[in-house]
């Protein structure tokens, strides 16, 4: 007798732990039926429910109470019940609502992807590519803000922000003292610091990793390169503050930036400290583990970095070996 509950998402049944959210149950199945999420971040407690892109239809509440839920629900914040049946991409209602949410998220977004550092790994870009329409019905001036520097390494460009609150949760949950938050109300609300105070703590850089769009960017990487020209490599170092497990983004011999290791949903495995992120940008600081696998759907994988010999790999026999297999597989295809 297992304690697990059965939930059916788009006709696929999966057994999950009680208390799992619909979104996480869908992630256990994987594939196309995983609802997109802009604000939910599994490592941040209390996140989610705000962007409404993960709306799904619950066509059967549970085995005990089979009534459907009256409204679409945010799958990231709705727990599964035994026997629940959920429709995501099989429900036209959900697709329609998601289209609406994407349109609404984009009406005040500058769409300045050509000059945005986030382009290529931006969730809003992916989302609008999949669910958006080609033109806009919004004819008014878009909301704009001045760029502000919060700390010497991080720039906040509020114009691009979709107010997912992730960076606020990061500051609440992994740093000692939160000095930034939401000011204002409604569509005038903005992320800001207390009277433009700088964010200064050892883990502040993680707000860059969690930001789904290009609102919070790394000033040390700013305008250095497009992400799809850089090559991600997993590396670690002995760090007294964090686990030191990172992804280095190479261009030639040079480490252009350091981020946490992001999975296919853009969520980092471990949060990293600012020393690892901003101050250790030499190959000699790191022990290289191997190329970071990026989902084949991402534009970053289009430069086939996994198959080409990075300069840094040439000197490391283990990496040469690891890379050979990749290279053979790719050339066979």
């Amino acid at each position: 007798m297992s304690d697990k509950v059965k939930v059916t998402i788009d006709g696929i049944t999966v057994e999950v732990e009680p208390g799992t959210s619909i979104l996480n149950a869908a992630r256990q199945i994987g594939g196309d039926i995983v609802p997109p999420a802009m604000c939910y971040y599994s490592k941040l407690e209390g996140s989610g429910g705000k962007c409404r892109t993960c709306l799904v239809k619950v066509s059967k509440g549970s085995e005990k109470d089979p009534r459907p839920m009256p409204k679409l629900v945010a799958s990231c914040r709705t727990g599964v019940m035994d026997g629940m049946e959920v429709q995501n991409i099989t429900s036209p209602e959900v697709i329609e609502a998601r289209k609406g949410v994407v349109e609404i998220l984009l009406i005040n977004h500058p769409l300045d992807c050509p000059v945005c550092d986030q382009a290529g790994e931006c969730h809003l870009q992916d989302l609008s590519y999949e669910h958006g329409v080609a033109d806009t019905r919004y004819e008014f001036d878009r909301r704009t803000f001045e760029k502000i520097d919060i700390g010497d390494k991080i720039q906040l460009h509020m114009t691009r922000c979709i107010l997912c609150y992730r960076c606020v949760y990061v500051a609440d949950q992994i740093t000692d003292n939160r000095v930034h938050g939401i000011l204002g109300r409604g569509d005038a609300s903005e992320i800001s610091t207390y009277i433009e105070k700088a964010i200064e703590n050892d883990f502040s850089g993680n707000v860059i990793d969690v930001c789904p769009v290009g609102a919070l960017t790394d000033k040390t990487f700013r305008f250095k390169n497009r992400v799809w020209f850089t090559k991600p490599v997993d590396a670690h170092r002995d760090c007294p503050k964090c686990k030191g497990k990172v992804t280095l983004w190479y261009k030639g011999e040079e480490v252009l930036r350091v981020t946490g290791r992001k999975d296919q949903y853009g969520e980092v495995e471990d949060f990293i400290c600012n020393t690892c992120r901003f101050d250790t940008k030499n190959t000699s600081d790191w022990v290289i583990e191997g190329p970071r696998h990026i989902s084949h759907t991402s534009v970053i994988s289009s430069n086939h970095y996994e198959m080409t010999l990075l300069p840094v790999i040439k000197e490391n026999p283990i990496l040469i070996e690891a890379n050979k297999i990749e290279f053979d597989r790719a050339t066979k295809v």
Partner: protein, 455 residues
């Protein structure tokens, strides 16, 4: 003269003071409940009465109370929602200003029923005079032994606090109110968990409207059975209606639920007809967030029945031809009022009051406001009308809290019923700046249902 349960003594001079209120039978219900009844008996009595929440949603109060989780050793709280800020609604402010002890009496009985030892009255920040009035009334009641330790020797302790809000419409939503009460930013919480399980400081909490809590007093005094005889069908008891707009006698009226809308507007006892001898064009029956109805549909339902002031009758016909009782903010528009301008005004309000937490409401309310502003000022296009309907559909039902719905309904309903006027604003944009569309056919008798089907 219909029977009044809440405002019976409203005209007695000095009723806002404890002594006068007590002389007129005040605090009887506290004595009755604390000395002769168990908390469960009070809840049962409220259930029997069929009282429904007076804040807007109309959820049965007794049922809400019985959902309250009662784990051992954890405090429970009762919070009175006095963050009344719906445009067109001003009944709670009236009640708190003139007869504050009624609310406090209701709070004591309700807190006793729920086993709350600390209760809060969350008052909107702008209502500073009412906050002072309530605090004074609480001090008087405490002085007379109706609050504090061991009330009337029954062993029941209750502390009652007034908490001023920051003045945001969104803080009238119960979970946003709880956040605000805790001293945080007033963003609605994602439900579940519901406040009955985890509310103020993660403790079980009940949030009730001022009028709901005040209505507990006559229920306990006369018994739930007696209260349920007042009213009509499942809409029991009396309701405070804040009548405003182009009426001869706007103001707060206590009506027995089930009163015909026509009688409410035109009888001398209530609003006394439309001001300046004009004709009625439209009515918003329950505060700005409920669908607006043209004159013919507010007086009669689509089936030709007279429309009554009750939860059921006003929502008869669903969103196609009906509206809602909501919080009882009754706004009447005469033939010279512009529905487009009014819709824009409502949209502007919701745009300003959206908390900005979830995307459809944050961006959608602003979008609708801008489009309506264009329409009203003669820059509209025909496609804008369908755009508004579409945007309102994208907001409705997809948000965390009901503010999204409340912003979408007035726009959608105004276009549904007054599409001619919107189109006229576009085709005659110059004329529309100088004069109004007028009454048109909005007060014409409804077509017979059979004919409508044939067409």
């Amino acid at each position: 003269m219909a029977r009044k349960l809440l405002l019976e003594n409203i005209n007695v001079p000095g009723i806002h003071t404890f002594d006068v209120y007590r002389q007129h039978g005040g605090y009887r219900s506290v004595e009755k409940a604390l000395k002769t009844m168990t908390p469960d008996a009070v809840v049962e009595e409220v259930k029997t009465s069929g009282l429904r929440g007076r804040g807007g949603a109309g959820f049965p109060t007794g049922m809400k109370w019985s959902f309250l989780a009662k784990p051992e050793g954890i405090e429970r709280y009762l919070v009175c929602n006095a963050d009344e800020s719906e445009p067109g609604t001003f009944k709670d402010r009236y009640l708190m200003t003139h007869i504050p002890h009624l609310l406090i009496e209701g709070m004591i009985v309700s807190s006793f029923a729920l086993g709350a030892k600390t209760s809060y009255i969350y008052v909107r920040g702008e209502m500073m005079p009412q906050i002072r009035i309530l605090e004074r009334a609480i001090a008087e009641a405490k002085n007379a032994g109706f609050l504090g330790k061991n009330i009337l020797g029954s062993g029941y302790d209750l502390e009652l606090y007034v908490q001023p809000g920051g003045g945001a419409y969104i803080c009238g939503e119960e979970t946003a109110l709880i956040e605000s009460l805790e001293g945080k930013r007033g963003n609605p919480r994602i439900k579940p968990p519901f406040p009955a399980i985890s509310g103020v400081w993660a403790c079980p909490t009940v949030v009730n409207n001022v009028e709901t809590i005040a209505a507990v007093v006559p229920i306990i005094n006369d018994g739930g059975e007696e209260y349920s005889k007042v009213g009509n069908g499942r809409s029991t008891g009396t309701k405070l209606i804040s009548a405003s707009g182009n009426l001869n006698k706007p103001g707060v009226y206590e009506i027995e639920l089930g009163l015909p809308v026509e009688e409410f507007i035109y009888s001398e006892e209530y609003c006394g007809g439309i001001a300046n001898g004009k004709r009625l064009k439209a009515v918003v029956a329950g505060g700005s967030s409920v669908p607006i109805l043209p004159a013919n549909l507010i007086l009669k339902t689509i089936n030709g029945q007279p429309r009554l002031m009750s939860y059921e009758s006003l929502s008869d016909g669903g969103f196609q031809t009906g509206s809602m009782l909501g919080s009882g903010g009754f706004i009447a528009f005469d033939e010279d009022q512009c529905i487009v301008r009014n819709t824009w005004n409502f949209a502007r309000f919701y745009h300003h009051e959206s908390c900005g937490q979830c995307s459809p409401c944050r961006e959608g309310t602003g979008w609708m406001e801008k489009v309506l502003h264009n329409l009203e000022n003669g820059h509209g296009k025909m496609s804008d009308i369908d755009l508004l309907v579409d945007v309102s559909k994208k907001i409705e039902g997809n948000t965390i809290c009901p503010l999204g719905d409340a912003a979408a309904w007035p726009v959608a309903s105004a276009i549904r019923h007054f599409r001619d006027e919107f189109e006229w604003h576009i085709t005659n944009s110059k004329t529309a700046m100088e004069q109004n569309y007028g009454l048109a056919k909005y007060a014409d008798p409804l077509p017979k249902l059979e004919e409508a089907i044939q067409n």
